[in-house]
Symmetry: C2
Subunit: 144 residues, 2 copies
DNA sequence: TTTATTTCGGATAATTTTATCCTATTTATA
DNA sequence: TATAAATAGGATAAAATTATCCGAAATAAA
């Protein structure tokens, strides 16, 4: 579904959100430990999230990654996914055709339509805030 | 969504089905041309479909790949996907957790539930026959 | 201003996926 | 039985993804 990079990116963003609500910046090291991901690779993905203005980074002592508290509710899963994996997951063709739409569909186009629309809707309507809350409430988990 | 191998496998199976209805066996070369895929790689994927009893191969002169006509209606997309990509697409965790279920969910588990269930249902209820018919009717296409 | 801390970013390596090539094996037919 | 036509399968290669390492740049605080 998502690439590993994207999975790490989503989990990292959630963890940063949780800490930003507590006014704490977090390091790639702390993030990687918490979400169970390779640290250096996670750091690369964080750079990508920074470039896409999803998280903010502060260099130097007492620095780290953070998200402006007022933004956490506005950030949608779709933004993170798009920043890392692009939008092929809900805009691409299920069978890899370059051009695939109503007028020139692949054999599974119609079958996938609802699923892809639902996926897109879900990603565009799920906020980082929701996900952070469920972790904080102990209702969901980063690691198995 | 699917791997390239799986995309090729699905398209190949559809093309074989169409030809099997006409009592024609097809070669990896003909398949690759029709579905726009690399021939040798496609041949590997065909072997996998043969091993999973989804298509039948006949070696030697006048040989090729075929599917028993009476089976075409019974073969579901889920069988092809499972043979090539496994079932992680609808049984795996959206964030890559080894163990992720109702009692120990990842942050997006609930959000993905309906989507994955719908995907699973669709794959399990879409037959090769349907897809072959839509191609034959000129209602869908293998290439862009 | 120096030092310690921290992210940034380039280089590289490992792994997986995708793709190619070549030979062995099988089989129908002449 | 010999031959031509096919698939099977092993060995590689290429490309993409995942992962690691290290020095440069930035920054807060002593």
């Amino acid at each position: 579904m998502f690439s590993k990079a994207c999975e790490y990116g989503i989990k990292a963003a959630i963890f940063i959100a949780i800490n930003s609500y507590e006014n704490r910046r977090v390091s790639p090291k702390a993030i990687a430990q918490e979400i169970n991901s390779p640290q250096a690779f996670t750091a690369k993905i964080l750079q990508e999230l920074v470039r896409n203005n999803i998280v903010n980074s502060v260099k130097g002592a007492y620095g780290g990654f953070e998200i402006e508290q007022t933004n956490i509710k506005n950030i949608k899963l779709s933004q993170i996914v798009k920043a890392i994996d692009g939008d092929k997951i809900y805009n691409g063709c299920g069978l890899g055709l370059e051009k695939c739409d109503e007028t020139h569909p692949c054999p599974v186009h119609d079958k996938f339509k609802d699923i892809r629309d639902n996926l897109k809707y879900m990603l565009e309507h799920t906020s980082l805030d929701e996900l952070a809350m469920s972790i904080q409430a102990g209702e969901s988990f980063f690691k198995t």
